[in-house]
């Protein structure tokens, strides 16, 4: 299936590969194959001791929908992302009510998901 891309996708995704242990939890929960585990790139800062040689890397940032699953499940908090619902109705409702975007949908997304 071809990958679909969207505006601003993945722009806020940050990975701190120095602290990453390469556990792979983030790769496991990402629904858009944004991350992979691979060899650490050469470290410029010699004073820092990286915790692992195998670390997570961002390979498809533009596919990242900023859902936050990776950050929530990283045991060492090596990932940061500004997550939220990518739903225009929720954003409009939020603006009208002066609250944070909140989706009221019950069906919609993933009706066939488990």
């Amino acid at each position: 299936m071809r990958t679909l891309y969207y505006l601003k996708n993945g722009e806020s995704l940050e990975l701190d590969s120095l602290h990453c242990t390469g556990c792979g939890a983030c790769v496991d929960v990402c629904p858009h194959a944004v991350l992979v585990i691979g060899e650490r790139a050469a470290c410029d800062d010699e004073d820092d001791t990286p915790s692992s040689d195998e670390v997570a890397r961002i390979v498809n940032r533009a596919a990242c929908m900023e859902c936050g699953a990776c950050a929530k499940n990283c045991p060492v908090r090596a990932i940061k992302v500004e997550s939220g619902v990518g739903c225009a109705q929720a954003i409009i409702l939020g603006k009208l009510r002066g609250t944070a975007p909140d989706c009221d949908c019950a069906g919609g997304k993933s009706g066939s998901c488990c």
């Binding site: 996708n9 629904p31 194959a33 929908m65 499940n73 739903c87 488990c114």
Partner: protein, 360 residues
């Protein structure tokens, strides 16, 4: 006062202790007696009513109340060693799960997501670490098991934190596949996923499956278009009805294009912003319709603009049903797009009026 409210909430029954009062839900086929508890055994075949319910949900009837009682269920004849599958209490999620489980023995833990599907509930936090931990405690699920592992739908990972669950509830989260249909393969492979099982599909079929929801949500637009068409076709002379039909066909066509053609064409329409994709589709429809109606120049421009604005707005709403849009992107689209849409609509009305008054 507060205390009684809290108590009431706590006293709400859970499945997995006592039998349901007869007749009980149709998906319960039997009961499994374990340690003085009556665990409902659920069927893996969907009945006619389940399918009818699913169709009704898709088209937006009877959404609320379509829930499963939270608690512990069984499928097949699970033993203490059997896996635990966690489900939302949205009936469609529950049905999508159980229909894949024929020939499998497992425990099912249904948590209270307020009748909302896994992904949306996880995004809101109701399919979250706290709710899961609370249901684990209240169902005393650990008493039935010889292990402390839970298979969670992968899409719950936006709400559930595995590290926190391990700390707080001492249960290990194992992320299952995104789609329930991959569960048998996942379990057979010793709970291993391949890359495909991690991805959220959004192919033509998936996009069209959410189209009816968009369609029912567009009801106010159909109504508004009807009212506007009545007015626009004035004066009430002999040609009123003809003009009315023409403009109604045009406007309803635009809404239908947004509901059905847009999701179908989503990947091939250029631009990343849904509103721009929609504006393009809407313009195309507006021009086609003008040609069909034989609208004069000013009228055609008005129709194209009106159609572009309407389809753009509805298309932007499809971000909610899509599976790959970020909040910051959608916010940008709303903030930049809305003023243009409103402006285009106002201009379109002006052009339309001009066209009607001066016949150009």
């Amino acid at each position: 006062m507060k205390f009684t409210a809290l108590q009431k909430k706590e006293e709400r029954p859970l499945a997995g202790y006592k039998r349901f009062e007869a007749p009980g839900p149709a998906y319960i086929e039997d009961y499994l007696e374990v340690k003085d508890r009556q665990i409902p055994v659920i069927g893996t075949r969907l009945g006619f009513m389940d399918r009818l319910g699913a169709v009704k949900m898709r088209w937006g009837f009877g959404r609320s109340g379509y829930r499963v009682l939270p608690g512990v269920y069984a499928v097949g004849h699970p033993v203490p060693d059997s896996p635990v599958l966690v489900s939302a209490n949205y009936k469609l999620s529950f049905d999508a799960l159980r229909r894949e489980l024929s020939g499998i023995a497992a425990w099912i833990l249904v948590i209270d997501t307020k009748g909302v599907n896994v992904w949306c509930a996880a995004g809101k936090g109701s399919f979250g670490t706290a709710e899961l931990a609370s249901k684990l405690a209240r169902t005393r699920l650990a008493d039935l098991l010889s292990h402390r592992k839970l298979v969670l739908p992968q899409l719950a990972a936006t709400g559930v934190s595995a590290p926190e669950l391990a700390k707080g509830a001492r249960f290990q989260a194992i992320w299952g596949p995104v789609m329930a249909k991959d569960l048998p393969a996942f379990l057979a492979a010793g709970m291993q996923k391949d890359k495909e099982m991690r991805l959220v599909p959004f192919g033509l079929r998936d996009r069209m499956a959410v189209a009816p929801v968009e369609f029912t949500q567009a009801a106010p637009f159909f109504g508004a278009a009807l009212a506007l068409s009545c007015l626009y076709a004035l004066p009430g002379d002999a040609q009123w009805f003809g003009r009315f039909l023409g403009i109604l066909g045009f406007s309803w066509g635009a809404i239908l294009a947004a509901c059905f053609a847009f999701p179908a064409l989503l990947p091939v329409l250029p631009f990343r912003a849904f509103a721009l994709k929609g504006a393009l589709l809407g313009t195309a429809w507006g021009l086609c319709a003008s040609a069909l109606l034989g609208a004069p120049l000013l009228g055609a421009a008005g129709l194209a603009l009106a159609s572009a604005a309407t389809v753009a707005f509805l298309a932007m709403g499809f971000t909610g049903a899509s599976t790959f849009t970020s909040q910051r992107g959608a916010t940008l689209e709303v903030e930049r797009g809305l003023p243009w849409m409103l402006g285009a609509l106002a201009l379109a009305l002006g052009l339309g009026l001009g066209s009607r008054l001066f016949g150009i």
